[in-house]
Amino acid sequence: MPFALLKFGLNDDYPYEREPDIPAPRDLKSHYDVVIIGGGGHGVATAYYLAKYHGVTNVAILEKAYLGGGNTARNTAVIRSNYLTPEGVKFYSASVKRYEQLSNEFDFNIMYSQRGQLTLAHTDATVRAFRQRAEVNKHFGGRTELIDRQAIAELVPTLNLDPADLPVLAGLWHRDGATARHDAVAWGYAKGATQRGVELHQLTEVTDILKEGNKVTGVVTNRGRIQCNSVVQAVAGHSALLARKAGFELPLVAYPLQAMVTQPVKPFLNPLVSSSALHCYVQQTSRGEIVIGGGSDPYPLYSSRSSLELKESLIAHAIEMFPFMSEMRLLRQWAGITDMTTDYSPIMGLSPVENYYIDAGWGTWGFKATPICGWTMAELVASGGRVPELIQPFALERFSHFRQVNEMGATAASH
């Protein structure tokens, strides 16, 4: 039995005698060095790395609802790096490497589970695109390969290889693909950041951005004004709206993204499996639930309502892949709001406003980037605006300079 469990059993007050994971609410100070807007994974990760590796601790994270309650809570916890562009592969691989170490870095188990991710190709166009992704991945040291039907059948014996009259032709097998307890990632970062002096303010909504000339000087919140030297915005679905308050536009369109989960059953599915043609992915959590997700809703909307149409088509496709799942039961359906860029890559780095840094455009792929995002954003803020090489391709200016990093096709329905 692990030592920690013995401690639980032998000491009634363990772990409560220590600091709580998340400190109790406190008053806002009038000034911080850094204000981070958004208490999701990216925001708290940025604060964590600022405090731990750059000694910047006079930091406030302002979260309008609760810690990790937005897309950090709603995503389906897929971690992978099998992207298409060299820029994307390098960036997401760096994230996967940090994820592997995260439980031990935090001293808090995020249940990182490297089960591999399998994406199915049903058309020769997809086979072609997958081969390219596999090749680019291998080029940068990733473990990704194109596998045939037989190898797929061995990997996932329960899979129907001829779903919906669309025979599976091949699969992109990404051994580095993983999942983790998504909430725990946000909590681990929050715990580590607040232990080092960062303040986490939940139920604190930023209503306006204060500027002098073109320089940010503070924010207005529902709990009063705060002065600060710099601001990081990391608000996912609401990025474009907040940027507008800061006085600039982001080329983002918000789409709802829905997902659902079944009742728990005993484990039968190890890898994460997704189908490009069926716009459906399926994985089994460590609790035994089956998580089913798909593509974004077809039209833009700032609402996290669920819809019946999407549920019907998504489940029909999940059953095409795993026919026996028709006798399982759906427990919950939910949605998040995703901020999509036209090239399916994020927007990171400097903004038109001085000392105002952006971390946006995370669409449907933000969770997997959490550690590297926090790491690079922290470096950016601590250096006073020197953009780390890894995120230079994701600058906002790329859209006006036609230097997009096109990941379309590497993201759809495999988040």
Partner: protein, 965 residues
């Protein structure tokens, strides 16, 4: 089997029809109408399942399918509610989530180890030293989960049906029945939905007064009126499982999902009875009061042994009275309050010799000798502050019915955006902020006395009628002062095991400790402790959790709240939501002819097309033969899947000119032009051929997979530009074939084509209208494959005949049908790109040799500004042709092009050309290497790098003489 009670008890069972099934290998007898759960408890078998975490024995709690304690496994599926499984299911039933047997579960040991496994323990263990999680995880995963999925099962037939109504009434208890009647009498079409087999809700089991009079007469009267009403359609055994925008309601009944579009919706969903939180409150035999009511009234079961009742309200007394009057041995009522609100209840108990203990609670339940059923309860005094103040007495009983109050069945209302606020005076959550056209009736609206509930139902119907524009009576005054909720039915025990959430095995300390560790927000409490995440989705745990967290964080219960209600209300079968599964794909009119010729069909967007004709094993051979036929003789390909769009009107040319990159204003009538589409980023997104049929009439093709998007974009731009033209997508109205090869002209002449097909009369890129037999044909002299070719577009209904005529006419020449895979090879020989294969999301015209198709002089086209900018920037890559000797390792599409070890591009097309006896391909390469004769490095399978020679395009017939013949 114990004898059942006499009628009228047992309203759901048919004593004349005995049935049996097996549970855990033992035969269990019952009657038709019994469920697995009722038949089991009728046989004194209360143990139905093992709990999620500690593997504690569990039995029915609600008898209404509202909890996870009765989840059992059948041969076909896991996690089925025993209260909903009919006895005549025809499958063996067993418990689930145990090692050993249901009665002797070895994992019960986890219960004793419980103190080592507190809430969130897995966050604090199993990861040190680095890497050990990999070993622990599989073990933990195997402990989790409940039932076992039957991996062999196949989806049975299930379907869907749409329904429409003015008023959907959800719930057919007294409120719902009253509402449905009032609405129907007011002229509305009513759909009444109830999840039970019997209408009447609580009227079918609860007794609302001491002599049972009011409920029985009311029920039969309402029943009669509703069932005979021509404006009311009743769906019973039907579950309205979600609310979606605009009152779109999925209703699940049997093997069908009704998709109900309601104008207005009345929620008469009732309320969920709440349990009392005390030590071992999960022992089999401890049930909610309403569950005991149901056991007696619905199933005529008199459980063996003594019965005690734990009351937090007056309603629980009625359970005690009903049980006694049915002949059960009721020993005691323990009331959490100093006295009942209705003093006459004390007398009613006294006349029946039922002991009353007031100001007391059950502080601990004790198991019988086997440890699988309730044996005794410990009754303790309650202090003025509501805490346990010392033991009073011990009472032997095998059944304990409890009621701490009610939680409105808020799920549908909250899915529709309503919120809950807690009223401290009544200790009750109330619903407010209803969506438009949504109304509440009855106990879900915090109204509890029978008269008030019915009046509230009528009022809701009146509000719905008014919203529909009908006349309605003025609302009645509804007053209900009955208190049904106890403010703090939570009793901590030094040894714990007071369950707040049965699904997830969470005790008081688990909830409180989550808050102590900083997870104060109710959403974080849920996520950290998993409270409310189980199959019953917090139906019983939400209220005590809100109270505990409010106290622990010194906030009000309203401020604490409950977690978001999300669809579905109850776990639903995936197969029922999916229905029959509907993935339509499209066939061209010539589909059967292709099959008859042995075509190997492949997906192309939503279509199926011949890839080649012949078995896939000899793919190479068929493609080679077809390609040679086209090059040397004549071939025919079905190109019906190409998009076809008609643009008609005075501004048709202007519209074309704004949308596509080429100039179209001066395009002569009777000519075709290549049409390239870029998006606002200057990226090539589609291409086709535009034929000008008349000054004001264009017929444009688009790619198979692109046409829907092109058409949508056209409509979008037209909505902004508002030019004078009509746009219609005629893809399915026309079918087309391309007849290509040196003998194409002869074949069409033989087919009886009624126009002069000579090069002079019908030159390359011309458009003409002709007839073959009596089939009107739009003829385009174009050719993707680079041979003399004619594309024949005909009305779809005539395409079948056209194919026959051309095939017959071509027979003397040996005309050969060819597929899309062959076409890909042939066009590659000509260096023609396929948009989407040789272009990607970043390809601009300059990178793919389409600059010639962009008119840089015209003032505007979609993407014009971006194309101008990107074409001024230095090229970072260029699509080039390459060739290799046939015996070199063959690059595949998607392989990388390297320069000094770095990625500079990728192979987009690559085939062996039988005409050239070389491997040819297209690839993006560094612009410095684009000159013909340069060498590029291509990394093929297994990392083998081959040197390919950059080759001038087209590979075949470089002077394009053949297509203009």
């Amino acid at each position: 089997m114990n004898p059942r009670l006499d009628a009228p008890y047992g309203s759901l069972i048919d004593r004349n029809q005995p049935r049996s099934f097996t549970f855990e290998g033992e035969t269990v007898n019952g009657y038709l109408g019994d469920t697995v759960a009722s038949a089991l408890i009728a046989n004194n078998h209360w143990l139905l399942s093992r709990s999620f975490k500690y593997h504690r024995p569990r039995g029915p709690l609600s008898m209404a399918g509202h909890d996870a304690n009765t989840l059992v496994q059948t041969a076909s599926a896991p996690n089925r509610l025993a209260e909903e499984l009919p006895i005549d299911l025809g499958e063996a039933v067993s418990g689930q989530n145990y090692v050993g047997s249901l009665k002797r579960d070895w994992l019960r040991a986890l219960d004793w180890l419980g103190r080592f496994l507190p809430v969130g323990f897995y966050y604090r263990a199993f990861y040190k030293p680095f890497g050990v999680w990999r070993l622990w995880e599989p073990m933990i995963r195997h402990m989790a989960g409940l039932g076992v999925a039957n991996l062999e099962s196949q989806p049975p037939y299930r379907d869907k049906q749409y329904l429409f109504c003015d008023v959907a009434v959800i719930g057919a208890g007294p409120a719902g029945l009253s509402a449905a009647l009032e609405a129907a009498n007011g002229g509305a079409q009513v759909l009444l939905v109830d999840e039970n087999t019997q209408l009447g809700g609580a009227l079918t089991y609860h007794r609302f007064d001491t002599d049972v009079e009011s409920s029985t007469t009311l029920l039969s009267s309402l029943h009669q009126q509703v069932l005979g009403h021509q404006h009311i359609r009743v769906l019973s055994s039907a579950l309205c499982n979600a609310w979606f925008t605009d009152h779109y309601l999925p209703v699940l009944q049997g093997d069908r999902m009704f998709k109900v579009r309601a104008e207005t919706c009345i929620l008469a969903t009732g309320s969920t009875e709440q349990h009392v939180v005390f030590r071992n409150n999960d022992l089999p035999g401890i049930v909610l009061c309403s569950a005991l009511d149901r056991i007696i009234r619905h199933y005529a079961i008199a459980p063996e042994g003594d019965v005690a009742v734990l009351a937090g309200n007056d309603l629980a007394y009625h359970t005690a009275l009903q049980a006694h009057d049915a002949g059960l041995s009721v020993t005691a009522v323990i009331d959490l309050r100093p006295s009942p609100d209705d003093e006459t209840l004390c007398e009613a108990l006294a006349t029946r010799n039922i002991r009353l203990e007031t100001g007391a609670t059950v502080s601990e339940a004790l198991a019988d000798r086997d440890g699988l059923r309730l044996g005794n309860i410990m009754v303790s005094h309650l202090a003025a502050d509501g805490s346990v103040a010392g033991e009073r007495c011990r009472i032997a009983c095998a059944t304990l019915a409890m009621s701490a109050g009610f939680m409105p069945a808020y799920q549908l209302a909250c899915q529709a955006g309503a919120s809950l606020s807690y009223d401290d005076a009544s200790a009750h959550f109330k619903i407010s902020g209803l969506a438009e056209g949504l109304f509440l009736a009855g106990s879900v609206n915090s109204v509890h006395t029978l008269e008030a509930v019915c009046a509230d139902g009528r009022n809701a119907a009146r509000a719905a009628l008014t919203a529909l524009g009908h006349n309605a009576d003025t609302p009645e005054t509804v007053s209900c002062t009955a208190r049904v909720n106890h403010p703090w039915p939570i009793f901590k025990h030094p040894k714990g095991r007071e369950f707040v959430d049965f699904d997830e095995d969470l005790q008081i300390k688990d909830i409180v400790n989550a808050a102590r560790q900083g997870y104060r927000d109710i959403q974080l409490v849920k996520r950290f402790s998993t409270v409310g995440m189980g199959p019953s989705q917090g139906r019983h745990s939400a209220l005590p959790t809100a109270r505990l967290i409010a106290k622990a964080t010194q906030r009000s219960v309203t401020e604490t709240g409950v977690t978001t209600a999300r669809p579905p209300v109850k776990p639903e079968l995936l197969g029922l939501i999916a229905g029959r599964g509907f993935d339509p794909h499209r066939h061209t009119p010539m589909h059967e002819q292709h099959l008859a010729l042995g075509a190997h069909m492949i997906p192309a967007g939503t279509w199926r097309r011949p890839g080649f004709y012949g078995d896939p094993v000899h793919r190479e051979r068929w493609i080679r033969e077809e390609a040679l036929a086209v090059r040397n003789n004549v071939g025919i390909i079905d190109v019906s899947t190409l998009g076809g769009i008609e643009l008609r009107g005075p501004d048709a040319a202007e519209f074309m000119n704004r949308l596509y990159t080429f100039g179209f204003l001066k395009q002569p009538v009777g000519r075709t032009r290549y049409a390239v589409l870029t998006n606002e980023h200057g990226v090539v997104i589609d291409d086709g051929v535009a034929a000008r049929l008349a000054d004001d009439h264009f017929y444009v093709t688009a790619t198979t997979t692109g046409v829907d998007r092109v058409y949508r974009d056209m409509l979008k731009w037209q909505a902004q530009w508002r030019l004078s033209l009509d746009i219609s997508n005629v893809t399915a109205a026309f079918a087309a074939v391309n007849v290509a090869g040196p003998n194409a002209r002869r074949v069409l002449e033989a087919a009886g084509c009624d126009i002069d097909l000579s090069a002079e009369a019908f030159p390359y890129l011309d458009y003409q209208e002709a007839a073959i037999a009596d089939i009107p044909v739009r003829m385009l002299r174009v050719g993707f494959v680079g041979e003399l070719g004619y594309e024949l577009h005909v009305p779809s209904m005539m395409a079948h005949r056209l194919w026959e005529i051309v095939m017959a006419a071509g027979a003397p020449w040996g005309i050969r049908p060819f597929g899309v895979e062959t076409q890909r090879l042939l066009r590659l020989e000509k260096g023609h790109i396929i948009v989407g294969q040789d272009t990607d999301g970043m390809s601009h015209p300059g990178e793919v040799h389409l600059a010639w198709a962009v008119n840089r002089k015209k003032p505007f086209f979609v993407g014009c500004r971006s194309v101008d900018i990107v074409m001024q920037q230095p090229l970072s890559r260029l699509l080039i042709g390459f060739s290799l000797s046939p015996d070199a390792p063959r690059p595949k599409e998607g392989h990388l092009v390297l320069k000094d070890g770095d990625i500079v591009g990728n192979v987009t097309s690559c085939e062996y050309s039988p005409n050239l006896d070389r491997v040819i391909g297209l690839a993006y390469a560094h612009p410095d290497d684009a000159a013909p004769g340069s060498i590029i490095d291509v990394r093929t399978d297994n990392g083998v790098v081959v040197q390919a020679i950059v080759t001038t395009l087209p590979f075949y017939d470089p002077d394009n003489e053949r297509q203009t013949l």
